[in-house]
């Protein structure tokens, strides 16, 4: 794995060098590299026979001071977590973002976004670094005033998620771009991952998995009228392995925005899962910004219901959504001062499930109050306090951040800290976590950015048993961003400009 990662890095460097002589072309390459070192106490599942378990003073079951969970009956086995070995991670991730144009055809360009990642530690603990090479996007694009065509791997963002496609997409713009008709098709990707659905890396626990990639077909229209915008989408995923054209997904979504007057907006949308005949995520928000732009307020309603592919069994478990009313206010009373507050109250729909062991909450609320002050030269301060009274989980916390831009060029220093108190239902796992860190961002030249950060997480597990072990950890982050490409800072003026007599000396 490490060897292949080095190969990828060499290939990225070679690409950058190869593109350098192509002066006739326009190109941009951005290479982000990030490294983190982290170490923490692992967990380990252990078990004992029921006969070895004792009843503690509060009536719970325990073994050697550890709370245990047991099966039914005197011959069952009981399970508990103990301290595991030290887990160490050293993820190294590089993301390449490249664009190439100026190929002799006006409007033709190529784009590539790829990621190479690995965990340099001997014990791989970091998520999503397998496979080593991940292709997020790679497509050719042709664009003119009326038409945009994509061919390759791309992601289509919409209310139903970020849909990955290996195929083609076409956008047709009519009526001075006020009307857009679009369609796409090809082979689909795994939702939320740059992987195909048949990839072993999308399935670490060896669940049921499709044997072939799905076909994807989608389309819709969008319009931009004065003060009224909208977009409608239909999306369908078909099981390629099924002769009966079974579906992986069939969904539609509508988004609307209305701006009746300057500063006033009414936005919203709804997603409908045709495959299951259920309403998915939906929301409507009314917003107001004062003419002086020193106050912004919004209020609305939203609904959230998770969506699962039709080939998975989770839809048959009837997940329910929640409905929430929310509001927010942002106020800038003085130069450099922002006061903000957000609140939401929510309630789940009836789960229609028998509650055998007590009350399960089905409603809650969330709130946040924050302040940002940047009125002192070279300084910026941020603070937030929030409460999340959820169902099965509750957390209260705050965070503070001070940013200093010293009188040195291109250097930014940040100190940050915070606290979370996080009780959770169903678990002896109440947590109080404090964190603090220092970060430096340095831009030694326009094409190079460097970041370094040290962060400490102090986590106290307030369990009533012996499993209240530490999870304290240091995290060290390093980042490097490099830009290559034709320099836009010394642009060549378009030939048409040079046809203007007075402009000939401008070059």
């Amino acid at each position: 794995m490490k060897r292949s990662f080095v190969r990828v890095l060499v290939a990225a460097g070679a690409l950058a060098l190869w593109t350098a002589p192509a002066l006739a072309q326009g190109y941009q390459v951005r290479l982000d590299t990030w490294f983190q070192s982290v170490a923490y106490q692992g967990w380990q599942l252990d078990s004992v026979p029921f006969a070895s378990v004792d009843t503690n003073s509060s009536g719970g079951l325990e073994y050697n001071g550890y709370a245990v969970r047991c099966g039914q009956g005197a011959t069952s086995t009981c399970y508990y977590y103990t301290e595991g070995g030290k887990r160490q991670g050293a993820p190294l991730v590089s993301t390449l973002d490249a664009a190439l144009w100026g190929l002799g055809v006006q409007g033709l360009s190529f784009r590539l976004k790829a990621r190479a990642g690995t965990d340099l530690s001997s014990t791989t603990v970091w998520p999503a670094v397998d496979p080593t090479m991940q292709l997020l996007e790679a497509y050719g694009e042709y664009k003119n005033k009326f038409l945009t065509v994509l061919l390759g791997r791309f992601h289509e963002p919409s209310r139903i998620g970020y849909i990955g496609v290996d195929g083609a997409k076409a956008d047709l713009y009519l009526f001075d771009r006020r009307l857009e008709l679009f369609g796409y098709g090809g082979w689909g990707m795994t939702p939320g991952a740059p992987l195909v659905v048949t990839s072993q890396y999308a399935n670490p626990l060896d669940q049921y998995q499709p044997t072939e990639r799905q076909y994807v077909l989608g389309g819709g229209l969008g319009w931009r009228l004065k003060g009224f915008e909208g977009r409608w989408l239909y999306h369908r995923e078909i099981d390629a392995a099924s002769s009966a054209n079974y579906l992986f997904a069939e969904r539609t979504a509508l988004d609307l925005a209305w701006y009746p007057k300057r500063g006033i907006s009414l936005t919203g949308g709804v997603e409908y899962d045709i495959g299951q005949a259920v309403v998915g995520t939906a929301d409507v928000t009314a917003g107001y910004t004062t003419p002086k732009r020193n106050l912004r307020a919004s209020a609305g309603w939203r609904r959230y219901r998770p969506n699962f592919p039709l080939w998975q069994i989770w839809n048959s478990f009837d997940p329910v959504g929640y409905n929430a009313g929310f509001g927010s206010v942002y106020w800038w009373p003085l130069r450099g001062l922002e006061l903000r507050g957000r609140g939401e109250i929510f309630k789940y729909e009836d789960a229609n499930a028998t509650d055998r062991f007590g009350t399960v909450e089905d409603d809650g609320w969330r709130g946040l109050f924050g302040v940002t002050y940047s009125g002192i030269q070279q300084w910026r301060f941020d603070g937030n306090y929030w409460v999340d009274k959820g169902t099965g989980s509750t957390q209260v916390g705050w965070d503070l951040r001070a940013t200093w831009v010293p009188p040195l060029p291109d250097l930014v220093l940040t100190a940050h800290g915070g606290r979370i108190s996080r009780p959770m239902e169903y678990r002896y796992n109440d947590v109080e976590a404090l964190n603090g860190g220092l970060r430096a961002d340095y831009t030694p030249m326009a094409d190079v950015k460097v970041m370094a950060e040290a962060r400490y997480l102090w986590e106290k597990r307030k369990r009533p048993d012996a499993a209240a072990f530490k999870w304290d950890q240091w995290r060290f982050n390093f980042g490097l961003t490099l830009y290559f490409g034709s320099s836009p800072d010394t642009p060549t003026l378009h030939p048409s400009i040079l046809l203007i007599p007075e402009a000939r000396s401008a070059k």
């Binding site: 996007e137 670490p204 503070l400 915070g418």
Partner: protein, 318 residues
């Protein structure tokens, strides 16, 4: 809480003591001046903006309006020249730009005379040909005029958290400044490296509660299999056999009565549990709710039904 309140009050007092009044609205007067209604009167832009080809934009004095708007010829109007402030095109210099007709930049193509507006970006691009999707400033020809990408009026407050409602109906509007890669900076599928600024610094400690309450909608960016299970597996939190986990140790009878919790937060369950582990019990204990539309699901894809029902799927064979 008390500490936070004290701090907040302190910051407010410091702000009041250390700053002047709130800034005047940016270029409000310019935006309100009805150029088109004066089209017949002003035949040349330089009649009012005579110094514009020098450094900075020049506006007429209020006394110029009062020549007509004196209450006798025309009603009195209030007008103040815009104050020099934060211009979006902070790199642009009228003096340095080759001389071209004002309308070439400040009027949309085909628009009636004197329908003046701020520089029309499409007009800029027609000469400064950005032949591919342009990049974010300062790595693009946008930096000809903009040191940093100018923020639209909507991009205030916690815009990052609230932009979806505006972006979803008209993603083309975002494309005026942003490229697809900008979206992928946060909306990237399964990012192994942290999206800058998206999650708070201590998110590893905060994420269980947010995931459970579904306030964060994790699956928008993370796949439960590739991301959540991958990490939970190495942390020792997952199990192939649902009965053999000590995770829900605060509730001895969790297995027997987890239905409501599971239906409310199924995404969170899936972060650790496999389909096969759930099916080990639910093959004989129906997980379906009273509103379960079996026929609908069967007609779309009966393969999920066969996991429990085998080939004897109620309503017909797959």
């Amino acid at each position: 809480m008390k500490t936070m309140m004290t701090l907040a009050v302190g910051v407010v007092i410091a702000a009041v003591a250390g700053t002047g009044p709130a800034p005047a609205p940016e270029l409000a007067s310019q935006g309100q001046f009805p150029h088109e209604r004066h089209a017949a009167l002003f035949t040349s832009c330089t009649m009012c903006h005579s110094g514009v080809t020098g450094e900075g934009a020049v506006y007429p004095a209020a006394s110029m309006c009062a020549g007509c708007h004196n209450g006798q010829i025309q009603p009195v109007v209030e007008y103040e020249p815009p104050t020099a402030g934060a211009y979006a095109a902070d790199n642009f210099s009228h003096a340095a730009h080759p001389p071209i007709d004002c309308a070439a930049c400040h009027q949309a193509a085909g628009a009636p005379a004197m329908t003046v507006q701020r520089a029309v970006v499409d007009n800029c691009l027609s000469c400064h040909g950005i032949e591919a999707e342009h990049q974010a400033a300062p790595q693009s020809p946008c930096s000809l005029c903009h040191q940093a990408a100018p923020k639209p009026a909507s991009h205030i407050g916690l815009w990052v958290q609230e932009h979806a409602a505006v972006a979803a109906p008209a993603p083309e509007a975002c494309a005026s400044c942003h490229v697809r890669a900008d979206c992928l900076a946060c909306h990237r599928p399964g990012g192994a490296d942290p999206a800058p600024g998206y999650h708070q610094a201590d998110y590893v400690a905060a994420h269980p509660a947010e995931a459970w309450s579904q306030s964060a909608q994790c699956s928008s960016c993370h796949n439960p299999g590739q991301f959540c299970q991958d990490c939970h597996q190495t942390a020792g939190l997952t199990s192939d056999e649902i009965r053999s986990t000590g995770y829900h140790d605060g509730q001895q009878s969790f297995n027997a009565g987890h239905g409501q919790a599971a239906r409310q937060s199924l995404e969170s369950c899936v972060a650790c549990h496999t389909e096969s582990s759930c099916v080990s019990c639910h093959r004989s204990v129906s997980p379906h709710g009273p509103d379960f539309n079996a026929e609908r699901l069967r007609s779309r894809n009966p393969q999920a039904c066969t996991v429990c029902h085998g080939t004897a799927v109620p309503g017909g064979s797959p």
